[in-house]
Amino acid sequence: MAHAMTVPESGHAPRPRKAPMPPVLRAFLWAAIGFLLLNTFVIAVDPFRGHPFVTGPSVVFGWVGAAIGWLLGIGLYDAVLLPLMGFPTRWQERQQGWRRYWEFATDHKVIGLQYMMFAVGGFLIAGGIAMLMRYELMTPYLTIFHYPSNYLTAVGIHGTLMMFSFATVFMIGGLGNYFVPLMIGARETVLSKLSGIGVWLVPVGILTVLFSPLLGEWSTGWRGYEPLAGQDANGILFYYLGVLALTMSSLIVALNLVATVMFRRAPGLTWGRLPLFVWGQVTVNLLMLIWFPEIQTTFVMALLDKVVPLNFFTATGSPLTYLMLFWLFGHPEVYIIAVPAFAIWNEIIPVMAQKSLFGRQWAVIGLVFVMMLSGLVWAHHMFTNLRNSEILPFSFFTEMISIPTGFAYMSAIGTLWKSKVRLNTPMLWILMSMFNFLIGGLTGVFLADPIVNLQLHDTFWVVGHFHYTIIGSMVFSGFGAIYYWLPKLSGRTFNETWGKTLAIITFLAFNLTFSQFFLLGLHGMNRWVPAYPAYLQPMNFEVSIFAFILGAAFLGNILYIGYCWRNGAQAGENPWGAKTPEWFTSSPAPRYNFPVQPEIVGSLYLYGEGTKVPVVTTALGELAATSRATQDPQFDWHDYAPDGGGVTS
C-alpha cells in the first residue's frame, strides 16, 4: 500500500531488546535446521551403508522437516502454537507498513496480496522458463539445453509452477482471499490464522519445484506420468512434494472461503443475491475440496512407489491407474482455473455497461453445472489409451460440458446487447478473454471428438488449445480484474491509453503465438520435443519471436500495474459506479473492511431506472432502526471479527 510505506525511525527511542530476525530469514534458517535434523536422522537409521548424505527417503523426510521449520519460523510458532497451547506470546499482528507482507498475517487482504505476490513470482519464473523453451525451439536441434532431460525438466517446472502456483493461486488464493470477504460484506474470514499460515506454503512449493533439478532431472512434464516417473531421478520427488505444499495451501484457501461465505455474509446477502465472483469461487472451492485430497493421495502413492519402492503405478503395476487418478483431478483442475474467470466476466460487464446483468440465474447455473460435470469428463485426456468401449461416454460428457460453459457467454451477450458500455481497459481485457476462451473452447470441440482426438492428441494443437483456455480465460480475465480492482487495492488508478495499449499488444502477441500452435499440431509437431524434423522449423522460429513479445508484454503489464499501484492518479471511492459491497468502504479497505457492518437490501446487479443502492452502511451517527444491532438481541460485532478483536469474553 502506497500510503503505508513509512518505515518507523526508532533511533530516538532506546531499544528494550535486540531486534528480531526478519521472519523470512528466520524461516529459511529454521527450514535448514529442520531439513538437517530429519535428513540426518533418516541417514543415521538407514540400514544401507555407503549411500550419499542425501538419499531419496532422507530427502523426503528432510523436506517435511524443512517445511515445518519454515512455517514455524515464519510465525506458526509465535502466533499460533504458543497461544494454542495456552502459553503467553509476544506476537502481535502488525497493522501497517510493508513489513506485514513479509510475515505471518491474519488480515485476509494482506494474505490475498501475499498470494498475489507469490503467484506473480511463480508466473514470472515459469514464464521465464517458457522463454527458454521457445528459444530452444527456434532450432530443430539442441542449443541452450544441452540434453533433452534438461529441456523436459524445464517443461515440467514450467507446467507445474504455472498450474499449481499461479493459475490456481492467483484467482483463488489472491483475488478470492482479498475480495470474497469484501464482496459478501464480511469483516474477517473464518479461519484467518490458518489462512495466514497456508499462504506461506506457496513459496515452499515454488522453491521446491524450482530446485527439483538439484536432485536430478525429471522428464514427465507437469502430469508426472507413470511408469516414466519411476525411472526418473530423484528430482521427481520435489515435484510431488512441491505440488503437495501448493495444493495444501489452496485447500486451506478453499476451506476458509467456503466457511466464510457460509457464515460471514452480511445481513441481507442471501444466496440469491450472492455476487457472481463469489459463486465462482465457492464452486471451484468445492471442486478443490473434493479433488485436491484425491491428487495428494495419488502423489503420495507415486512417491512411495519411488522411494520404498512399491509397485502401484510401475510397469508391473498399473500405469493406467495413475493416468486415471491424475486426470480425475486434472480435468476439474482446468475448471478450477477457468470458472472464476467466467464469473469475472459477468461481474465486470454489468458495471461497465451500467446495465442489469442478463440471466443472472443462468450464469450461476452455468458455473454450478460446469463444476458438477467436470468430474465426469476426465478420460477425454486418455482417448489414445482407453479401451474403445470407454471412449463414447467420456466424449458425451465432454461435449455436454460446453453447454453450461456457454451460459457465461449467454449472460454476457444478453447484458451487452444494446448497452452503452465503457470500453475501458478492464472491459477490453474481458472482451479479449471472451474471444480467447472462445477459440480455446471451439478447438476443444475438435479434441472432444474421439476420431479427431486420435490425431490431435499430444500434438501442439493440444498445447495451443489449453494455452488458449487457461491464458485466455484466467490470465486475461485476471488482468481485467486487476485493472478493475486496482482502485480498490491501492486507492489509485491507471492511465487508459497505457492500459489499452498494453492490453492490445498482449492480445496480438498472444494470438499470433498460440494460433500457430494449431497449425503446428496439424502439421505433425508433437509435444515434449526439443529436437524435431527440420520442416517444422520456420513456423517454430516465428512462433518464438511472437512468444518473446508476449513475454515482454506480460512483464510490461505487471510492471505498469506495479507503477500505478504506487504512482497512479488518485481514484474515487467507487470509480466504476459498481454496486457490489467491496466498493462501499474506503480504498484500500481498513483492517475490518467496513467501519460498520453493511447490510444488503437489494440486488447487486440491477441498474437503471428505479433501482436502489443495494448496500447500506449505516452512517455512524445515525444507527437507526434498520440496523441489525437494534433488531437482533443476539447481534454482536464479534461475529465479524473472529479473534475477538483482541478482547476476551
Partner: protein, 215 residues
C-alpha cells in the same frame, strides 16, 4: 472516528517493540537468492573453474570406467602422455547395450529428429594408429577396430568384429572388457561417448571428457 456500540475497538497503536531490520531482510534474501541461482545453474562452471585452478588428479595404471543408463562413471579423467593404462570398461546397465568411443567434434546439428546420421560420428578418432591390447572379454556384442592397432588376447571370435564407424567396443548388459595401452602423444581435451541406438545415448548425455596432459 467516534466509538459506537457496534464498532470494533480502535486498533491498539503499533507495539513499541524493535522492528526487524530492512537491510538484514534485503541482504539476507538476496544472498539466499544468489546461492540458489549458483546451485541451480552454476555447478558445472564451479567444477570447471576448480579444475582449471587446481587441476585434477592424473589417473594411471588400472582405471574403471562404468557405463550406466545413460551416463558414465567417471565422466572426467586426466591422463598423461606415455603412461601405461589399463581401462576396465564395464556395462552396469540391466537393459541396454553400451559402447565406448573417443574422439573430437560431433556435429550436433545432425541431432534434430530425422537428422542426417553419419555412421562415423567423430571427425577425429582418438584411437587412430594407437596400439591397444584387448583382454578378458565378457559379454561383447561387437567390436569395431577402425584404425587402431589391436592385439586380441584370447580367441578373436569372442569379439565379434565388425567394420564401420569409430573404434568402439560395444558391451551387452553386464559385459566387460579390459583395454591396455600407452597414452599416445595426443594431448588436449578429448570427448568420449556412447553412440548406441542412433546416437540417442550420446544425445541424451552419455558422454564424458578426458584431459590428456603432455608428458
Amino acid at each position: 472516528m467516534s466509538k459506537v456500540p457496534n464498532e470494533p475497538p480502535i486498533e491498539s497503536p503499533e507495539p513499541q517493540q524493535p522492528e526487524w531490520s530492512r537491510r538484514q531482510f534485503l541482504v539476507g534474501t538476496a544472498a539466499i537468492g544468489v546461492a540458489g541461482a549458483v546451485t541451480l545453474f552454476g555447478r558445472q562452471s564451479l567444477v570447471n573453474a576448480a579444475r582449471s585452478v587446481f587441476g585434477s588428479p592424473v589417473s594411471s595404471g588400472t582405471v574403471h570406467l562404468y557405463a550406466y543408463d545413460y551416463y558414465y562413471i567417471p565422466n572426467y579423467m586426466t591422463w598423461r602422455v606415455g603412461d601405461r593404462m589399463e581401462v576396465i570398461f564395464q556395462n552396469q546397465s540391466h537393459t541396454h547395450w553400451h559402447e565406448w568411443t573417443m574422439g573430437r567434434h560431433v556435429n550436433e546439428a545432425y541431432f534434430q529428429a530425422f537428422g542426417n546420421l553419419p555412421a562415423d560420428a567423430w571427425q577425429e578418432d582418438f584411437w587412430d594408429g594407437v596400439p591397444v591390447t584387448l583382454s578378458d572379454p565378457y559379454g561383447i556384442d561387437n567390436f569395431v577396430p577402425n584404425q587402431a592397432i589391436v592385439t586380441y588376447v584370447g580367441p578373436k571370435a569372442a569379439y565379434n568384429i565388425q567394420s564401420g564407424g569409430d573404434f568402439s567396443p560395444t558391451l551387452k548388459p553386464g559385459g566387460s572388457l579390459h583395454l591396455s595401452f600407452t597414452v599416445p602423444n595426443k594431448p588436449g581435451l578429448w570427448d568420449f561417448g556412447c553412440f548406441v541406438q542412433q546416437y540417442i545415448h550420446y544425445r541424451t548425455g552419455m558422454r564424458g571428457q578426458v584431459m590428456i596432459l603432455p608428458a
